[in-house]
């Protein structure tokens, strides 16, 4: 840094520049840093300590492999059981009338039963046209007929061993339901705007009418919950009407025409 040609400032100028420098305020430390540094100084730990890495003991390799095999086997078993437990797919077993059904907002002509069946997934919304009937079934276990403009969210078909409680929703129209021997132990809930209909093994109709829901039981027993009072069991040969205006539900004999329609249904073998 020695420079022989360097000419220093005149003494007065040097003092002036020095004064300018000395006039600078000291840089202020962050109070948080100051407090932190003070605490560390008083404890003798002023230098930032390197982060300690906690090394977890590694399990032996053969144990890792055994765990991996066990996990893979468990996944395989669970997957297999889930596949085997799955209920059958919905089938379209009968169609009456012409028109276009709508499945999840996709129009499908009623005559295209294969396309219609392929679209019937659990949770799908199925609407059938007025004056037509579409019969779907889980072979051997369950038949459901959708009539008079039924608008329904499909349930899953009851599974084999577990997951046998399924739920459908009927917004309007009519359903006629018949269960077969394999349905024993399963449970189908049909929810309408006014009622929850619990089916455990029977033949019945669930009809959404302008003033409420009518549940007609041809065989077995059905529990109807109108969501306002105690659930009621509807015995064989009776019907229960749940009003949508708050009136007390009414129970009566099923109408002859309904009896005949359900008799026709019960004579069908589920899954045929």
């Amino acid at each position: 840094m020695i420079d022989d040609d360097f000419q220093p400032l005149p003494e007065e100028e040097e003092r002036r520049i020095g004064a300018l420098v000395r006039d600078l305020p000291p840089p202020a430390a962050d109070p948080a840093f100051r407090a932190h540094a003070r605490q560390r100084f008083l404890s003798g730990r002023s230098r930032a300590e390197p982060a300690k890495v906690l090394a977890l003991p590694m399990p032996p390799r053969h144990r890792v492999q055994a765990f991996a095999w066990a996990a893979a086997a468990a996944v395989l078993v669970v997957t297999s059981v889930a596949v085997l437990n799955r209920g059958p797919a919905w089938q379209v077993t009968s169609v009456q009338g012409d028109g276009i059904a709508v499945v999840n907002q996709v129009p499908i002509p009623l005559g295209h039963t294969a396309d219609l069946a392929a679209a019937l997934r659990p949770g799908a919304r199925l609407r059938v046209p007025e004056g037509t009937m579409v019969e779907i079934s889980a072979p051997g276990a369950l038949i459901i007929q959708l009539m008079n403009g039924a608008d329904m969210i499909l349930p899953a078909t009851p599974a084999r061993w577990f997951g046998r409680h399924v739920t459908a929703e009927l917004a309007r129209g009519e359903l006629r339901i018949h269960t077969g021997e394999p349905f024993v132990g399963a449970n189908l809930m049909v929810r309408t705007p006014e009622a929850d209909v619990r089916v455990t093994g029977t033949t019945l109709a669930v009809i959404c009418e302008p003033h409420g829901t009518c549940v007609c039981v041809f065989e077995g027993a059905v529990r109807v919950d109108d969501r306002h009072a105690e659930p009621a069991d509807v015995p064989e040969g009776r019907r229960r009407f749940v009003f949508n205006d708050g009136r007390i539900p009414e129970t009566d004999e099923i109408r002859p025409v309904e009896r005949e329609m359900l008799r026709d249904l019960i004579e069908r073998e589920p899954g045929r």
């Binding site: 840094m1 020695i2 420079d3 360097f6 000419q7 220093p8 400032l9 100028e13 040097e14 520049i17 020095g18 004064a19 300018l20 420098v21 000395r22 006039d23 600078l24 305020p25 000291p26 840089p27 430390a29 962050d30 840093f33 100051r34 540094a37 003070r38 560390r40 100084f41 008083l42 003798g44 730990r45 002023s46 230098r47 930032a48």
Partner: protein, 214 residues
Amino acid sequence: MPSGPTHPPGESVQDHVAPGSSPTARRPGLPPAVLEKVRERDPAALAAFFDRYFDQVYATAHRLLGERAAAEDVTQEVFYKVHRAAHQLDPARDPAPWLAAITYNACRDLWRTAEHRLAKKSGSIEDDPALAGRLTSGVNDPERDLLADERRRLVQDAVNRLPEPLRTSVVLFEYGGMNHQEIAELIGVNHAAARKRYSRALALLATMLKETLG
């Protein structure tokens, strides 16, 4: 206390006594009794020592390094070393120059790291045309020059852009409470060279500030 800089005989007081007009330099030191307690690492004495000298250490580090994060790292390093070497403290002497020397050495270690050299390459005045223009062009705004804050900022920028050896001379002399002889011993040059560095630093500052501050 480590062997600190001393005033060599036969030299003028003017050369050895720092101006000492900065707030840090003017503050009285701790009483010898407290420093004796610091040697024993008495918690209360350590607290008093920290409170008295923290600002000086941090300010010196900040002025030498020109950035907050590095100054904080160096400050922690300095106080770590002080804690470890507390038993060497000489209660009869003001610790300020000793702390300034430790601070300078910590900064010098940082300057020598590759990371710092790399970062410093982007800190040249040439990379700040606006500042360079303000400091060296003929543009002169009398109204702005009258604002003290603006003047201080310009001076601070100029100090920050001094080459490291020159900035070290200015910072240690003006703020560190060290005289030229102590600085010379610290940085490993003779007294005349240390004095000349200081003069060169002021001359360079004057050049940079000439057009701006008049």
